[in-house]
């Protein structure tokens, strides 16, 4: 009985809070002003990119700069199929195409390590971008496409749904044998291989799962952008942002990248609206300070405060 009680104690409160939060998020469009929903959609998009990036790159420590490629594939799927198929179908196709692309890239490149892997993943999204540019310039004779427009509440709900599924997936991966395998690859790939882990397969599957969510997010986000061309869809910034956001938040915990992406996106929003002329200057300074003084990200800071708090408590009792 003690064990069950312990489990209850351990899980009931957080679950309740998560549930309340989810209900709040789900009912938000009913009472919040229109722009809050739009801003939260953007924040959710970056959270999705960052958390899915962390699924693979967090435990394995392989820095992937291919996020823009997977996101862009989703964007293009929506741009091409937007008028032909229902929304859910296009998002699924976008996710699937990204998944398959990641499997392909994974089997091709995950034997590479360190610098080589980083450069290759960055190269692949540039390659796709320039191939598309070449194709559109020389074959279709026009660059740029309109994307079907979707009501922003609907975009928000879809983004929220992707986010929930992603968080569940990330949670279960973290607490499964698969997650442990990923972690052991990050600690020592040779040792993991000797323990009988099929390292290539594990890496490729994790890489593809992370791409799946990026593709889905790209497909639905494209409807908010209205107009896209290869440079917009495969913007290299979308590869760097998740990395910076994950570092900013801290990668040790599941909620680190969530906080990182949320605070990061929100900070950018404040700066580009309230301090428009100094946006980059301030943003850059904040980044430098964060890297210098927050080696474990924002959650590192939180944990430090908590530890100090409990230490003081113990000292006073």
């Amino acid at each position: 009985m003690d064990i069950i009680g312990g489990i209850f104690k351990r899980f009931r409160v957080p679950r309740l809070i998560i549930l309340i939060l989810l209900i709040l998020l789900a009912t938000l469009p009913l009472y919040a002003p229109g722009y809050t929903v739009i801003l939260l959609t953007a924040i959710l998009m970056y959270i999705i990119l960052t958390v899915s990036w962390t699924i693979f790159s967090g435990p394995t420590r392989y820095i992937s700069l291919a996020s823009a490629a997977f996101f862009g594939v989703g964007v293009y799927t929506m741009a091409i199929l937007g008028k032909a198929l229902p929304l859910a179908a296009i998002i699924s196709i976008g996710a699937l195409v990204s998944f398959i692309l990641a499997l392909f890239i994974g089997f091709l490149t995950l034997r590479l390590r360190g610098m080589y892997f980083i450069i290759f993943t960055f190269g692949i999204s540039e390659l796709i971008k320039h191939s598309l540019l070449w194709w559109e310039t020389n074959m279709t004779g026009t660059v740029g496409r309109w994307v079907v427009r979707v009501d922003h509440d609907q975009v928000y709900y879809i983004m929220l749904a992707i986010f929930v599924v992603l968080m569940l997936t990330a949670y279960f991966i973290r607490h499964s044998r698969f997650g442990l395998a990923l972690k052991s690859i990050g600690q020592s790939e040779e040792a993991a291989a000797h323990r009988g882990i099929n390292v290539t397969l594990v890496k490729v599957v994790a890489f593809a799962i992370s791409a799946l969510f990026m593709g889905a997010a790209g497909a639905i986000m494209a409807t908010r952008w209205a107009y896209i061309d290869p440079r917009i869809a495969f913007n290299p910034l979308l590869s760097f942002m998740p990395v910076m956001m994950a570092i900013f938040g801290g990668m040790g915990q599941l909620y680190g990248p969530v906080i990182g992406a949320a605070v990061f996106t929100y900070l950018a929003e404040i700066l580009m609206t309230r301090f428009a002329y100094y946006y980059m200057l301030i943003f850059g300074s904040v980044l430098v300070l964060a890297i210098l003084y927050l080696p474990n990200g924002l959650i590192g800071l939180l944990q430090k405060w908590r530890k100090r708090g409990t230490a003081e408590q113990q000292a006073s009792t």
Binding site: P14, T137, Y255, E269
Partner: protein, 423 residues
């Protein structure tokens, strides 16, 4: 473990509360006007006109946006406010202007989001709009959905123009590739150009423009010796220019943005490529172009679209004197400044003419009236501005003169283009 699990919801809560703080619910007193029907006889009290603009203040579009659009917009606001504002009949008084400006970071997604912020959260009266074709494309559905009339002085696209029926709130102000191309074809044939090379950027502007010029010249009997394309962000075009040089054409036509056109100028000087007619589309009309290379070097270079203070339009010369004083002689744009300034002149005259801040009425007024501006009498057909001050410009003695179409010219064409000065 327990503590860690507790942290998850705490973190989420923190993230959410941050969001909530940052999205202040609109103050209560502003809600009634928005819910009131626009036909209410007595308009809500107002003591200013709020303008919104999300434009590139950082990222690759910064320089183009700043030189071309931000400067004339700011100058106009200062001028209007110096006179007490814009007279709006329904309020029976002059209302001063207040601008809310955001940085779109040269990113399309951010642009759309911030335009929606201006509309939904800041509830601005009018929108001044972003810089560059892709950005205008991106906000077209948004301004249409919320019925905000916008006048686009920095958009250059056949595709957008063909959609005029679907986007009644977007007015295309700049002269468009089709007309510019026709004027260029006539000019080249008049000058007796027999052989040519062409290069274009792999984007909407480059492709559409090149498609408007190259096939037509070829059909008229001009021999196309080379037809190349290059991607945005290209850092070295000497191989292409060396090839062009070896073909020894009469004319070279480049359709690209300032970055590439500045690069092509610099590298053409390097490899000694100097055709009799040298045209590069965007950015040539910038004063910084003359400042960087020197007036003597750019003599005879041609660019897309043209305007000159000596053209016979109301206030053209005075506008240029003020603009030059505002941005400094090295910071103006001989084409875009006049276009961007005339676009806000149209907005001002439309508000005065319609006598209201009702956006639907202002939109209808813009669509039907003629406006006296620094680029001449502007009127719109199918939301496209029919008044064009010039199609091709050429640097002559440090000034960017209109040389085509013929009837609009403020100076004779220099042909052949003089050699690059020897350093």
């Amino acid at each position: 473990m327990k503590k860690k699990l507790l942290l998850i919801p705490l973190a989420l809560l923190l993230a959410l509360s941050l969001v909530a703080i940052g999205c202040p619910t609109p103050p209560e007193e502003t809600t009634p006007p928005t819910t009131a029907p626009p036909t209410t006889p007595a308009p809500p009290a107002k003591d200013e006109i709020v303008l919104g603009q999300a434009i590139a203040l950082s990222g690759p579009y910064t320089i183009g946006a700043g030189v071309t659009q931000v400067a004339p917009n700011d100058m106009w606001i200062e001028e209007v406010n110096a006179e007490g504002g814009i007279y709006v009949e329904e309020y029976g008084k002059k209302l001063p202007l207040r601008l809310i400006r955001y940085d779109d970071t040269s990113d399309v997604g951010t642009q759309v989001k911030l335009t929606e912020k201006l509309i939904l959260e800041d509830k601005v009266d009018f929108i001044l709009g972003p810089w560059s074709t892709a950005m205008w494309f991106a906000i077209a559905p948004t301004v249409n959905e919320y019925k905000y009339p916008v006048i686009a002085p920095t958009v250059d696209s056949l595709q957008l123009r063909e959609m005029w029926e679907e986007i009644p709130y977007l007015f295309i102000h700049l002269n468009q590739p089709k007309e510019k191309a026709e004027a260029m074809v006539d000019m080249a044939l008049d000058l007796g150009v027999e052989t040519m090379v062409a290069g274009h950027l792999q984007d909407l502007h480059g492709i559409e423009y090149a498609q408007g010029v190259v096939p037509q010249l070829a059909a008229a009997g001009v021999e196309v010796l080379a037809y190349k394309s290059f991607p945005i962000g290209v850092k070295d075009l000497t191989p292409m220019l060396k090839e062009f040089k070896s073909l020894n054409p009469d004319a070279a036509f480049i359709f690209a943005y300032p970055d590439e056109n500045f690069l092509i100028t610099a590298q053409s000087i390097e490899v000694g490529f100097n055709p009799k007619l040298f045209f590069c589309s965007i950015g040539i009309a910038f004063s910084p172009y003359r400042e960087i290379f020197g007036a003597e070097t750019v003599e005879g270079m041609m660019g897309a679209g043209a305007w000159h203070p000596s053209a016979p339009y109301t206030g053209a010369k005075e506008f240029w004197d003020r603009m030059t004083a505002w941005s400094g002689p090295g910071g103006t744009d001989w084409l875009g400044n006049a276009y961007c300034y005339s676009a806000v002149q149209v907005l001002q005259q439309a508000i005065e003419g319609a006598g209201t801040l009702d956006r639907v009425k202002v939109r209808d007024y813009i669509a039907s009236a003629t406006f006296d501006t620094v680029i001449g009498p502007v009127y719109y057909e199918k939301q496209l501005n029919m008044q064009v001050p010039g199609h091709v410009g050429q640097w002559q003695n440090g000034e960017f003169h209109i040389v085509a179409a013929k009837e609009l010219a403020t100076a004779d064409i220099i042909y052949p283009k003089p050699a690059w000065p020897t350093p």
